[in-house]
Structure formats: structure tokens, C-alpha cells
């Protein structure tokens, strides 16, 4: 390496020493608030024993809210009964009639096939005056794929 | 979006020109611009193909320059 280049490399890395942490940390800060689960797509998660409510199935998938025997824990069970046309998507909980996922909470991420279990909080408890809805969101193309009232 | 399509078309055009250039260049120009090419094998020629397609404008300039350098001394002797 020549002297000029050594200096340039050092200058670039001095800049990166600022840019990289700023980039990483700002991206960290804008991660949307999560509903409950820390680990999205928990591979080994098992279904809670009681189905609180089974929602009518939609094209390609259906989902249930499950709970344990003393109703202290809640779980969203998501089942793709066909391979979805979008390879991956995220599920958000938003206020009723607000389809903007940025205002909502991230519940979890699904793939085109399979069943998924996400631990959620009591706001997911089914009731006909629930003020929440689920939004199925394709984050690659930034499109709402489906909206279902909880 | 039409701007994207235009940009894409321009890039494709540039690369197609690069492919045509590369065929001629590999046959005629390559050994003129760099003496290290003489006696090198097929592997080397294949390995530089993608680069030729992308950087064809630079190689073309070198090729033209190399041609001038060969012609000029000939003129002096004439």
C-alpha cells in the first residue's frame, strides 16, 4: 500500500466508525413495537390447549385464538392450509379501521406454508366489541393482503 | 414506472453493445493492448469476458490508442 492509500483507508474507517453504529442503532430504534413474542417464528412453539375462538377460514389460511386452562395466556394460532401466493408476510394488530401497520404492533412473521404460534396479550381476547383487527402485510411489496376484525 | 424502464433499456443496450464488442475484441484486439495476453490460455480469456462486456468502453479506448502507436512508427519510416 502507498502512503496516500493508507491515509484514505483510515479516513474511510473513521467515517464508518460513526456511520455504522448510527445506521445500526437508528434501524434498531425504528423496529416496530412487538405485541408480545420476542422470538418471531418460534420454531418449537406448541399450541395452548384451549381454543377460545376459531375465526372463519379465509382464502389460503385460517387462525384461532388459543389459551391455557386458566385463561392467563393467549396465543394466536396461524395455519396456512394452502401455499400462499406471497412467500412471506407479517401479522400486525392495529386499531379497528386503521389499516396502517406502522400504527400497529407486530405480532409475528409467517412463511408461505405451515402453522405458526405467537404468544399474544389479553387485547387479543375475542369479544364482539373488540376494537382491534389483524392485518396481514406483505412487507416486501408493502401491501396489506388481508384485514380481519378480532 | 417509465423512468425505470428507460434506465433498464439503456443499461441493456450498453451491455448488448458490450457483448458484440467482446466477441470482436477477443478475436482481434486483446493481444494488442497487453503483451501479457500472448501465450495465455483459454481459462484466462474466459475469465475476463464479463469484465470486457462491462468495461468495453475503456478497452476500446486502449485498443484505439494501441493501434495508433503501431501505425505511427510505420509512418515515420515511410
Amino acid at each position: 500500500m502507498i502512503k496516500k492509500l493508507r491515509k484514505k483507508h483510515l479516513q474511510i474507517w473513521t467515517a464508518l466508525a460513526v456511520l455504522l453504529p448510527v445506521g445500526i442503532i437508528s434501524a434498531w430504534l425504528v423496529i416496530p413495537p412487538a405485541a408480545k413474542d420476542k422470538l418471531l417464528q418460534p420454531a418449537s412453539a406448541r399450541a395452548l390447549p384451549v381454543i377460545l375462538k376459531a375465526y372463519p377460514s379465509r382464502v389460503g389460511f385460517e387462525f384461532n385464538i388459543r389459551t391455557n386452562t386458566d385463561t392467563t395466556q393467549f396465543q394466536l394460532e396461524w395455519v396456512n392450509n394452502q401455499t400462499l401466493t406471497y412467500p412471506t408476510a407479517t401479522i400486525y394488530q392495529t386499531q379497528l379501521n386503521d389499516g396502517n401497520v406502522q400504527h400497529g404492533r407486530l405480532v409475528g412473521r409467517i412463511e408461505a406454508r405451515g402453522s405458526y404460534y405467537f404468544m399474544v396479550d389479553s387485547t387479543f381476547k375475542p369479544s364482539y366489541n373488540s376494537t382491534y383487527q389483524l392485518v396481514l402485510y406483505d412487507f416486501i411489496h408493502q401491501k396489506n393482503m388481508d384485514i380481519i376484525k378480532l | 414506472m417509465s423512468t425505470m424502464t428507460v434506465i433498464l433499456a439503456a443499461i441493456s443496450l450498453y451491455l448488448v453493445a458490450g457483448i458484440i464488442f467482446t466477441i470482436i475484441f477477443q478475436l482481434k484486439g486483446l493481444s494488442k493492448i497487453d503483451e501479457g495476453v500472448n501465450g495465455s490460455g483459454w481459462g484466462f480469456r474466459i475469465i475476463i469476458i464479463p469484465g470486457c462486456i462491462v468495461f468495453w468502453t475503456g478497452l476500446l479506448r486502449k485498443w484505439i490508442k494501441a493501434n495508433k502507436e503501431i501505425i505511427d512508427p510505420a509512418k515515420e519510416h515511410a
Binding site: K7, W28, P87 | G36, G51
Partner: protein
């Protein structure tokens, strides 16, 4: 170079190196596929391939970027540098699979051109959380592509070393783009902090290595030699230089390597004609100064590569007074023969 080009200048060491890269990649990909098949059997093959290749490429990228400063910090890492390009090209091939399959999987189903779809399916360039992270990956891939296709020495010569070095310095931009591609992409949908921590550790390791090695080197360049006489500068004691090795001194604009070999001292320009490797960090092998990076050789007395090679570096005058080594920073034309300085028994003591 005076000799003709080879596709790859393979030798035993490079072959071992390449086999190790290959074995590691295969092992990693296989492990990834098997673990996914066990724990997430529902994932499609494309998804597995996209993730296996992307994570492997990020690992290789970190290794590749740490080799440079590691060799500055400890010479034991030099064998890694020897064939760093193959590591880079392998990384490109791997990440090309990730990029292609991502485009296939996410953008080839509609009726728009997949590349148009890549840039138009998300245009929130003004928002951080919604940023079109795939565009970042795409530009990083383009940089890796340009580097991979110009990795042969032919391009170093024919694009000119300046253009080539500049192009290859874009790897740092590419690295930044990759970090942001991951941070603004998957990590936005993956609240497990493990992934953020991995990215942070990776970035901090690279930053630390480069800053440590970089400041050290720049400081060496900035050493001021006070004692001057008739154009000569007092640089060190003859005992400071080991036999068949050199010490480097930056007196003017560039470092000069002062070699001790066969009872004499010789001074040549430190910059190797191949890729500007530091000749002063090499050693004398078979009577030739041998570049530590890729093994180009030069004769100590005249800075010329032995035939059939044609590289030449500048030479300088050195003299000995007692045990003091004096160096004249005035460069002779490349390849000029210089007598060197004879080390007498008296000097050596």
C-alpha cells in the same frame, strides 16, 4: 508482468486455501439446510436457499474485510491475504444466489419486469422503517459484481491501478449497504435482538481492527527523522535489521525498505509493482527480495525482477558510519544498480 496471464496462478498453497473455502461453504450450507429441514420443515426450498446463502456471504464478507488489518497487526495472518481475492469472488458467487432467488421469489410473479418491480414495489425512500431495503442489497451486489469480474490482474493493468484501487475501495460502501440491507430488512420483522447483536459485534470488530491497524501505519509514516547530513538521514542502527529482512522508513512521500543481506545493506522503494504490497515486510529468498503479498521478486542491488519478469522499483543510496545506518531519500531511476553499504565486522558488533 513479463510472463503471460494464467486464469488462476494456482500453486499448492492456493489450492489448499481454495479447498478450505469450498469445504467451509459446503459444510455451512449443508448444516443450514439440514437444521431447517428438522426445525422448520414447512419452509420452501427457495426460502432456505435465500437465507443460507445470505448468512454465509455475510460471514465471508466479515472475514475478508478483517484480513487486511489483521496482517498489519500480526504477520501470522499473511497466508490469508495471499489469496484473498478468491474469498471475495466466492462470496460474490454465493450472494448472487441469494440475490437471484430473492428476485425470483419476490418479484417474478407479477407482469412487471422483476428489476422494475424491485425498485417500484417500495418507494418509501424518505422513511427509515419502511426503507426499500432490497435496493440497498441490489447496489451492494452490483459493487461485488464489479469487483469480482475485475479481480484478475489483467484488469489491474488495463483499468490502470488507480481506477482499480478506487473501484475495489467501494467494498467499504458495499459493506455499509449490506449492514443496512439487513438492519432495515429482516431485522425489522425479527424482534429477537440476537441478530442485531451479531451485526453490531461484526461491525465493531471490523471498525476496531481497521482503526488500530490504520493509526499504527499512519503513525509510522509520520515519524520524523531529525539527524540529517549531506542529503543523508540517520534512520537506525545496523543491529535493528535482521539478516535477509528489512526495516522501512518514510522519509519523504513514500516508504523505503532497507534490506540486510549477504553482509550488505541495500535500499529499494517499498512499493511492489504488482499491487503495491510492502516489499520491506517480505524477506530475501534465493537472493531476491520477495513481496509478502503475492511473491513478486526483485534483486536488492538494482530493484529489478529477475527475467522473464520486467518489473523494476527505484533504488536508493545507503551508507554506514560505525553502526549507524544513513539513508538518502533521493530516488534513482527504477532498476538502477547501487553498490549498497558493506557491513564490516566492526559495524556488526
Amino acid at each position: 508482468m513479463g510472463a503471460s496471464y494464467l486464469a488462476v496462478g494456482w500453486n499448492r498453497q492456493k489450492k489448499i486455501y481454495d479447498w478450505l473455502i469450498f469445504a467451509f461453504c459446503v459444510l455451512y450450507l449443508a448444516t443450514f439446510v439440514v437444521l431447517t429441514a428438522i426445525f422448520n420443515p414447512d419452509y420452501t426450498f427457495e426460502t432456505v436457499l435465500i437465507r443460507a446463502t445470505s448468512t454465509l456471504a455475510v460471514i465471508i464478507l466479515h472475514v475478508t474485510l478483517s484480513i487486511g488489518p489483521l496482517t498489519r497487526i500480526n504477520k501470522k495472518f499473511l497466508p490469508l491475504l495471499y489469496n484473498r481475492r478468491h474469498l471475495g469472488v466466492s462470496m460474490f458467487c454465493i450472494i448472487l444466489v441469494h440475490g437471484s432467488f430473492s428476485i425470483l421469489q419476490f418479484h417474478s410473479l407479477g407482469n412487471v419486469n422483476p428489476f422494475v418491480s424491485l425498485f417500484t414495489s417500495n418507494t418509501h425512500f424518505g422513511s427509515l422503517a419502511d426503507f426499500p431495503f432490497q435496493a440497498l442489497g441490489f447496489f451492494a451486489l452490483i459493487i461485488f459484481f464489479l469487483m469480482a469480474i475485475t479481480s484478475h490482474d489483467f484488469w489491474l493493468h488495463n483499468l490502470s491501478p488507480k481506477v482499480w484501487k478506487t473501484l475495489h475501495m467501494f467494498v467499504y460502501l458495499a459493506y455499509f449497504l449490506v449492514v443496512m440491507h439487513v438492519m432495515l430488512g429482516v431485522i425489522q420483522y425479527e424482534t429477537n435482538p440476537v441478530f442485531i447483536i451479531i451485526m453490531l459485534i461484526g461491525a465493531f470488530t471490523l471498525i476496531a481492527l481497521h482503526l488500530i491497524a490504520g493509526t499504527r501505519e499512519v503513525n509510522k509514516d509520520d515519524v520524523i527523522y531529525k539527524l540529517k547530513q549531506d542529503g543523508y538521514v540517520l534512520v537506525c542502527d545496523v543491529k535493528d535489521i535482521e539478516e535477509d529482512r528489512a526495516k522501512m522508513f518514510c522519509l519523504d512521500t513514500e516508504r523505503i525498505a532497507v534490506y540486510k543481506t549477504g553482509g550488505k545493506l541495500f535500499a529499494v522503494n517499498n512499493v511492489c509493482k504488482h499491487q503495491n504490497g510492502p516489499l520491506g515486510e517480505g524477506k530475501v529468498i534465493d537472493g531476491c527480495i520477495t513481496c509478502p503479498w503475492h511473491g513478486y521478486q526483485y534483486l536488492p542491488q538494482n530493484g529489478q525482477s529477475p527475467p522473464p519478469f520486467k518489473e523494476k522499483v527505484s533504488t536508493y543510496d545507503v551508507k554506514l558510519e560505525g553502526t549507524h545506518v544513513w539513508l538518502n531519500p533521493k530516488a534513482y531511476a527504477e532498476g538502477t544498480e547501487r553498490p549498497g553499504a558493506v557491513i564490516s565486522v566492526v559495524n556488526a558488533e
